[in-house]
């Protein structure tokens, strides 16, 4: 079986650690069996955090996918050997993995309350923080900052699909009397949609588990689930609950699994009527 090496490797380095985490959530600090860790998932701040994380991930996934695919289209329609293409994909590669304290600072230094963009706008009468500093709110601020790595990620992931579009298909559609709309709706769209949807799913999972950027921007109150996990693991004031951290992780896996199932159903549906 050609797939054996893959499954063996993945079992050792992914499924096994995941299993260790999932089962670890069933034991407390004294290694006694307990369902408390899972029961604690109903704590109100965990529920709120779950909702906020899901919303931010969904927003940045969809927006990132749309904007990313548009940018990818702009790149794909250019010279395939050109400097612009090389620079764009290299920059996308770097920015897709850029995050954490420094990404947060990059935004703080530009549009933060002491950032030059804000101060410039303010001096010209436009105070965009007049109703509160939205940069430090999970839904508005984090979403904007997350787009910084979501869009390049979509570019890299979607570009190969765009590269597969042949100009002959456009010509064929035109010669049959089709307009631009017809071309996209009946020819290119259906071919690109699976890759587009897959990219959106990837972006969702990417934002869902992101930690360092959120922690640098909103260090109080752990609004994102990954921050809740970090608190439960690294708290040095006695609030450390490693079992609970694992339970939250399992919950995250469950949520992404549900979203994946949704995605899979959507793929099957759209492949039928697209």
């Amino acid at each position: 079986m050609g797939t054996l090496p893959f499954f063996v490797y993945v079992s050792a380095f992914l499924l096994l650690p995941t299993g260790i985490v999932a089962i670890g959530a069933l034991f407390d600090a004294n290694n006694a069996f307990t369902l408390e860790n899972y029961a604690h998932l109903s704590r109100s701040f965990v529920v709120k955090s779950t909702i906020d994380t899901t919303v931010v991930s969904a927003i940045t996934a969809v927006l990132g996918a749309v904007l990313g695919s548009l940018l990818a289209y702009a790149i794909a329609t250019g010279n395939p050997n050109g400097v612009l293409r090389r620079v764009s994909i290299s920059a996308s590669g770097v920015l897709a993995q850029f995050g954490g304290v420094t990404l947060a600072f990059a935004f703080i230094a530009s549009i933060g309350p002491a950032g030059f963009v804000y101060l410039f706008a303010q001096s010209h009468g436009f105070d965009f923080y007049a109703h509160g500093i939205w940069l430090f709110e999970p839904i508005q601020g984090l979403s904007l900052v997350y787009l910084y790595f979501q869009i390049p990620l979509m570019v890299l992931v979607f570009l190969p699909a765009l590269d597969g579009i042949k100009p002959q298909w456009r010509e064929a559609a035109e010669s049959l009397g089709g307009s631009t709309w017809h071309y996209w709706r009946y020819v290119a769209g259906p071919i690109l949609f699976p890759a587009f949807l897959g990219g959106t799913l990837l972006l969702f999972a990417n934002a869902f588990s992101a930690y360092a950027t959120a922690n640098a921007l909103i260090n109080q109150g752990a609004p994102m689930l990954a921050q809740q996990i970090s608190n439960a693991i690294s708290s040095e004031v006695g609030a450390a609950e490693p079992g609970f951290a694992k339970a939250i992780a399992v919950q995250m896996i469950v949520i992404v699994t549900l979203v994946t199932i949704l995605y899979s159903l959507l793929q099957r549906r759209t492949s039928r009527w697209l």
Partner: protein, 292 residues
Amino acid sequence: MAVARRGVHRTRWIRLQVFRYAAFLFAAIFFLVPIGAMLEFSTRSNSGARTLEYWKSIVTFPDLIGTVGAPGQATGIVASLELALITSVVMLVLLVPTMVWVRLKLKRLNRIVEFICLLPLTIPAIVLVVGLFPMYIWLGSNFSDSILTLALAYVVLVLPYCYRTLDSGLGAIDVKTLSEAARSLGARWEQVMWRVIAPNISNAILNATLLSVALVLGEYTIANNLLYNNLQVELVHLGRTNAGVSIAVAVASLLFAFVLLIAISFVGGRPRRARPEAATKLGAGPVQGSAG
């Protein structure tokens, strides 16, 4: 997608160029302004004047470059570069044949492989490392304690990104026809992979490699919690000197990765004609004039 000017209406071409310029303009503003802010900050001295002192102090930091095999383990840039190389190679060797196989013969496994390749992204690194501890203890006592064992975990981390990229690429070519044609001409499976499939998805392979190199160079949490000092951990050390250095170091890290990725993009991704004679003999079809 080389849009030839011949045969495309002029208005459509103009509209396309307007769209492209607008897209690149907005992208440039959105992506370059924050980096510009960091550059400005890293060249601002305490008194507000422009200075290069923080940038200069980066090169004087001894542990940054790191050496191979020095006191038992490599650190810094050298370690991260080696890790990037190993991770990319192992990832490609593991993923490409598997994905092709699933497309050709094991369609039922498709969703499973897809899900497995998304799993690493659902678990935050700080928790994944908890699950990795026992494996690394075992590795350390039975095989090697070296920082290069991190590559084993990194391959898992890059799976989601590389799977999705390669999947886009494989979806754009007719894997079935290509491989059947090559097989019917007597090619062994390794030849099919290496000389037929791979050249046709060279862009996807390149993008996947870029993503995995960028990830390895930027990875912090797992290396840090396993008490290894890779590039990012050394940068955190260095950044604790003062504020200006911490940002200069971050921008330098981005520039370093950027230059490296551009270099890699010259190695792969050059346009190839559809070389497999088998495919051309089948006549005009989607595989003709394959994308560069």
